[in-house]
Point group: C2
Chain length 331, copies 2
Amino acid sequence: MKRPTLEAVAARAGVSRATVSRVVNGQTTVAPHIRDTVLRAVEELGYVPNSAARSLVTQRTDSVALVVSEPPTRVFSEDPLFATVIRSASVELEAADKQVVLMLAGSAKSHARVERYIAGGHVDGVMLISMHGADPLPAAIARMRVPVVSYGRPAVPIDIPYVDNDNIGGASAAVRHLVSLGRRRIATIAGPLDMIGGQDRLAGYRRVVGDSDARSIVAVGDFTRESGAVAMRQLLRDDPQLDAVFVANDLMAVGALQALRQAGRRVPDDVAVVGFDDIEAAKYTDPPLTTIRHPVAEQASTMVRLLLGLFHTGTAEPVILPTELIIRDSA
Amino acid sequence: MKRPTLEAVAARAGVSRATVSRVVNGQTTVAPHIRDTVLRAVEELGYVPNSAARSLVTQRTDSVALVVSEPPTRVFSEDPLFATVIRSASVELEAADKQVVLMLAGSAKSHARVERYIAGGHVDGVMLISMHGADPLPAAIARMRVPVVSYGRPAVPIDIPYVDNDNIGGASAAVRHLVSLGRRRIATIAGPLDMIGGQDRLAGYRRVVGDSDARSIVAVGDFTRESGAVAMRQLLRDDPQLDAVFVANDLMAVGALQALRQAGRRVPDDVAVVGFDDIEAAKYTDPPLTTIRHPVAEQASTMVRLLLGLFHTGTAEPVILPTELIIRDSA
DNA sequence: AACAGCTTAGAGAGCGCTCCCACATTTATG
DNA sequence: CATAAATGTGGGAGCGCTCTCTAAGCTGTT
């Protein structure tokens, strides 16, 4: 009742193990009629190659690790980003016949585990999702001689290929939109500054506000809804006259919208609001949220292609994907 | 520059391969001082066992597949459930030193792929997330002689262990709450009836409404926000006098709330609303949503423990986890 | 002091596969 | 028609590990 081996298929087809191996691996140097015989034997026996044996000799595993180096915070599971990235990356990897090994590296203990696993050569490559600058894992993995790509620009300047969206450009576009609406007291609720996304979106805001005659007013949140509300209340205290706010992600924007309503401000009449991410919920806020859309799924699939390219050519260049301003009713 | 093998460690420690293997695998039949010497050699060389070689001989892989047999719909990625399940299951599996291989089986093609992979003995066990009754995958996997557990009761009656929440009990509690509030025209927006969750929650509703003198009014949605709004509008047409509605998930409840507002109904004064799931957004609706909470993370970790138990004892019994009524302002 | 009974280390086979090399065919070329 | 060059197939080694079997070294008993 055990699984058939190459040997068994060879015996059944009346050929050698080597020939079966050739057929199974799609080599063309096998005579067509033998090929057919072998394939029939494979079919009849329900043969499936033993991946352990294959890996042992080829030194490949045909699997890649998707390492999520992030403490399991509420943000992350509430955020639809995670599911989308995983799904999109999986689909793309499946097309390339690679297995996805998911590894969560939220704690120091799991960090060690992940490092050992990767150092052990159990995967052909690594896709890394790490958002925080203080995270030592990207550097650690980059030191090993394993192909690795990053989802998002690494927060510390290490030389690994990455795919990011144009955070700076997107934030700039958001603020330009507010300026074009005639707003002059444009605040921002920035994300955590130890995250690249937080930094870059703030930089984009600063760039445009600095170029205009508008005043810059900054509050910092942590990408959660609640922090958005808190930051918004603070901004209103700091400058009751503000007429616009660029919020570094939609989740915080939802909180900000709520805070504005509680403070009796009308959106967009009194205060215009632009978010970032274009999450599903952005369509359903009151009023629907004007925001910056970035292609999460495409970012993930591009990351996969980058990694596959790395396997074949040995090099890969970073990719920055464009963002898009989605105008709804909040600005 | 290649990775050290057992052989290398053995040479360095001045012992045989077998002894190193014993030490690495934690056998106690090794003299302490030899053990220390070996461990030092392991440390110095940075030895990590080659899992392919190990699997080849042990016939174990120390990895399990997490199979998500669901078309990649919007619902699924919008739903925080997915991320929570994956995270919780991963944490639990890591504790048991198992690898998580994530497989999406949304299409017929990927079905075949997953089946081949599992039949190939590449994983020690399977955790299956499948919601739709028509899904052939659970049965297909159950036929293979691979340990498998299901997240949620399988929609077709096949004999595999599962962990589910008490959908019927939860729905009953929701409706009883509405009855206790004095509501007598209690409608429901059911989920898709090809999903166990949809069926059971409707059954729970029916059971309580049938026992009371309340009328039963049913509309069916597909667990999306939009379908909730559509269903709510239909219910209002069918029975403009309805004074309560039990919605089979929170996402639809959010849509229903929106539809009620548009129809000029006050919640909970005119119509009381109870949802199901207690997603994050339920706290932030207007008014905050009364709902049934079920322990998603616990369900996932229990599923893992069930699978691990299956490895050791060969059997596992289904588990039903209790739900909890969370009373907010909508009912 | 001799031997049984135990503990601990090493030798060696073999898991299922790929791939190099040798060899047997067939086909092209002078 | 002889020989060279392709072309296709089989033999066999070996990937790194575990595990059984055997042997060697102890201890303790009579």
